[in-house]
């Protein structure tokens, strides 16, 4: 490293900080009755100190001060990877499953609540993973299908008293049909246009939910959705099964755990089937896939329908869990959140998406005091991830690049 590089780095750092102050000051410091400097200066100083710390660590790293730490970390990583590779897969799955089943016994009500949320988002993330991660179709209106599922169950349960378990497949089917309706006109588009059109469709669904007063009760939403029922073993006189309502949060946890496990198995099986491979072929190079005899039209439609169906499952559970649905829960930001999980975790990778959901739902709970900054950090993380690690935390094993992006 030369002195010139060092100078260049610190000059651009200084310019960046001055630029930041220029952008920050007018927003905080201009009031109708006069100009203020103190509030913007304090905020700017905090940010500047944080940036300086990062810069110093970076500088020390450049000078090789962390070599020892790094090599220790690398050897630790190597040994963990060896251990991970040596452990048979079924053992890992059993440990994971055991922990998931024992979870309610180890934590309180609050923990169950958070776990339910995480699992809902795991289902949503895995569903979107089919569309974005496997088939490579960027969908920004995904939450609409979640809404379709939730409203289907809410309406059927309120007006016709249909049971949760019966509505689960019905909602998935209807969401899948909605997926086909939305997918059909967008099949000719790729990349950017597809993203913006799906976004438009998502907004249309939300506006319909918001304005169709007779059916959806508009912004007030639908309440008194019934809970799921289960047969529960009863030991009071001998042994019999009793039909009870799921009321406790830990019971809900088991319901969503079951749904999540089914989703994971389905997505895993799809991923390694002929269909999954065809989706990956479409993702890597659509034209080449078509030339090789892949029916891109049908498979892309299928990707939409499958993704939407899993969102429908999650939506049904959401309606049963909350006992209330309103258009507020199905905004664009939710779509962006699910997308961020898929991207953060690693597109196309099942453990990655689960990790992403855990990171984006459970971590903010740990920092409850910073609730306000949640979305800010989340937007920042999305950009930063793209800059430093575009493949995600736990990348999928099989990914390539689209041929038209190579140039």
């Amino acid at each position: 490293m030369t002195t010139q590089e060092f100078k260049k780095r610190w000059t651009s750092f200084g310019i960046g900080l001055i630029w930041l102050f220029i952008l920050l000051w007018p927003l905080l410091g201009i009031k109708p009755d006069g100009l203020e400097f103190i509030p913007s200066l304090t905020l700017w100083l905090k940010l500047a100190v944080a940036a300086l710390c990062v810069m110093i660590v970076y500088e020390l790293n450049q000078r090789g001060l962390f070599e020892g730490l790094k090599s220790a970390g690398a050897s630790l990583k190597g040994s963990t990877e060896k251990l991970y590779a040596a452990t048979p897969n079924w053992l890992l799955v059993c440990i994971g499953l055991g922990l998931a089943i024992a979870f309610p016994a180890m934590t309180g009500r609050y923990g169950h609540d958070v776990a339910c949320n995480v699992l809902i988002y795991v289902c949503l993330g895995l569903g979107l993973n089919i569309v974005v991660g496997l088939a490579g179709l960027l969908d920004l209106g995904y939450i609409a299908f979640y809404g379709v599922g939730a409203y289907t169950y809410a309406l059927l349960s309120i007006h016709y008293g249909l049971a949760f378990w019966l509505c689960l497949p019905i909602s998935a089917l209807l969401a899948g049909i909605a997926g086909c309706i939305i997918g059909y006109p967008t099949l000719r588009m790729r990349g950017d246009y597809l993203a913006i059109v799906t976004l438009g469709f998502g907004e249309i669904v939300r506006l319909i939910l918001n304005n169709w007063m007779d059916l959806t009760n508009g912004p007030n939403g639908l309440s008194d959705v019934s809970r799921p029922t289960v047969y529960w073993p009863d030991f009071s006189n001998g042994f019999s099964f009793e039909l009870i309502m799921v009321k406790k949060v830990w019971m809900f946890y088991y319901v969503i755990l079951a749904i999540a496990i089914v989703t994971i198995i389905c997505v895993y099986r799809l991923n390694y089937s002929r269909i999954g491979r065809a989706w990956e072929a479409i993702r890597e190079d659509e034209t080449a896939a078509e030339l090789m005899g892949v029916n891109t039209f049908l498979l892309k439609l299928l990707a939409y329908a499958m993704g939407a169906a899993f969102a429908g499952f999650a939506g049904t559970f959401f309606a049963a869990r909350m006992r209330f649905v309103s258009p507020e829960s199905f905004t664009f930001l939710e779509s962006a959140m699910v997308l961020a999980m898929v991207v953060l975790g690693g597109m196309g990778s099942i453990p990655g998406v689960m990790l992403g959901a855990l990171a984006l739902i459970a971590l903010p709970e740990a920092f409850r005091d910073f609730e306000l900054y949640r979305m800010l950090v989340f937007g920042g993380v999305m950009t930063t991830m793209m800059l430093v690690r575009p493949k995600g935390l736990w990348p999928a094993k099989r990914v390539g690049r689209r041929s038209e992006e190579m140039d």
């Binding site: 952008l23 927003l27 950017d192 913006i196 506006l207 997308l339 961020a340 937007g379 999305m382 800059l387």
Partner: protein
């Protein structure tokens, strides 16, 4: 008939504002083929900066024309600086990576800016001093308010200015050259990195002007106001043929008219849906837009 005339005036007003936002989309897309999701946030930031500056200037006792003129100019400069910073941080390092990465980075930036605005300015609406531009001309039941005249004048001036910049100056020539072929224009000595940065700045400046005018027109601004007009303006840019400056202006006017007439004659609740339906229909039947020419089929 009077109702129709009134709707026509309102439609042109709104259409002009959409045209201003659409220009930023179309210019950025024309040069680097990126849907700049954060563009709607420049619009919202412009609205906020406008309310801050104009209420400050009014507090200092400046005349309405000075307030609006100076507020507009400073806001445009501010948003141009913001856009250059965003481009430098979130888009420039990704110039060579996949399209999906840049798109997601833009989405992240949009959420970041929107929430940054919320944290610094609060979640409640901020009101514009609309008494500054109250009143207007009346013919029977048709009203042409002073604010609408301001919007016509400012939008017209900005559109003419932009056209002169793009088609008559060296910078404009460099921009057009970069849009056609980045490598070749770099070979003849155009600093394409600077041109891209400048394009972002100009687009954001126009969006900021639109933000001020929307704020004045509706009386208040909100931190989340950038999203829906951003999408509608994108629809306008696509309708006109993305990458085409005249197309963006025409598209903006059409989308504004459609929205106002749909709200007036069909259903005001579903007025936002019409812009999306136009977007989908255009992309489905004529992906190059009304004025677009040869978009190669890998893009669509």
């Amino acid at each position: 008939m009077e109702y129709f005339l009134q709707q026509l005036i309102n439609g042109i007003t709104l259409g002009g504002v959409y045209a201003l936002i659409a220009l930023g989309y179309t210019m950025v897309y024309g040069i680097i083929q990126l849907i700049n999701f954060a563009h709607g946030e420049f619009f919202a930031a412009g609205g906020y900066m406008g309310v801050i500056l104009i209420s400050y200037l009014a507090g200092q006792g400046a005349s309405p024309v000075l307030c609006i003129g100076l507020g507009l100019a400073l806001t445009m400069v501010y948003c141009a600086l913001l856009a250059m910073a965003v481009e430098k941080v979130a888009y420039k390092p990704l110039r060579t990576s996949s399209r999906l990465s840049v798109l997601l980075s833009a989405l992240g930036m949009s959420i970041f800016l929107q929430n940054g605005l919320m944290l610094t300015q609060g979640v409640y609406d901020k009101a514009y001093p609309t008494e500054m531009t109250a009143g207007g001309f009346e013919w029977g039941n048709v009203v042409l308010s002073y604010m609408q005249i301001y919007i016509f004048l400012i939008t017209g001036a900005l559109l003419i200015g932009l056209n002169l910049l793009v088609f008559k100056t060296r910078i404009g020539k460099a921009m057009r050259a970069t849009a056609q072929d980045k490598v070749m224009s770099a070979l003849v000595g155009i600093n394409s990195s600077k041109i891209i940065s400048l394009t972002f700045a100009i687009g954001a400046g126009l969006a900021a002007a639109a933000g001020i005018m929307v704020g004045f027109y509706y009386g208040s601004v909100n931190y989340s106001m950038g999203f829906v007009p951003g999408i509608k303006a994108f629809a306008a840019a696509v309708l006109g043929g993305i990458g085409n400056i005249t197309g963006a202006m025409v598209g903006g006017l059409i989308i504004g008219m459609v929205e106002i007439f749909a709200a007036g004659y069909l259903s005001s609740e579903y007025k936002d849906v019409f812009a999306f339906i136009i977007l989908i229909a255009v992309l489905y039947f004529r992906p190059t837009g009304i004025m677009g020419e040869n978009v190669d089929d890998t893009r669509v």
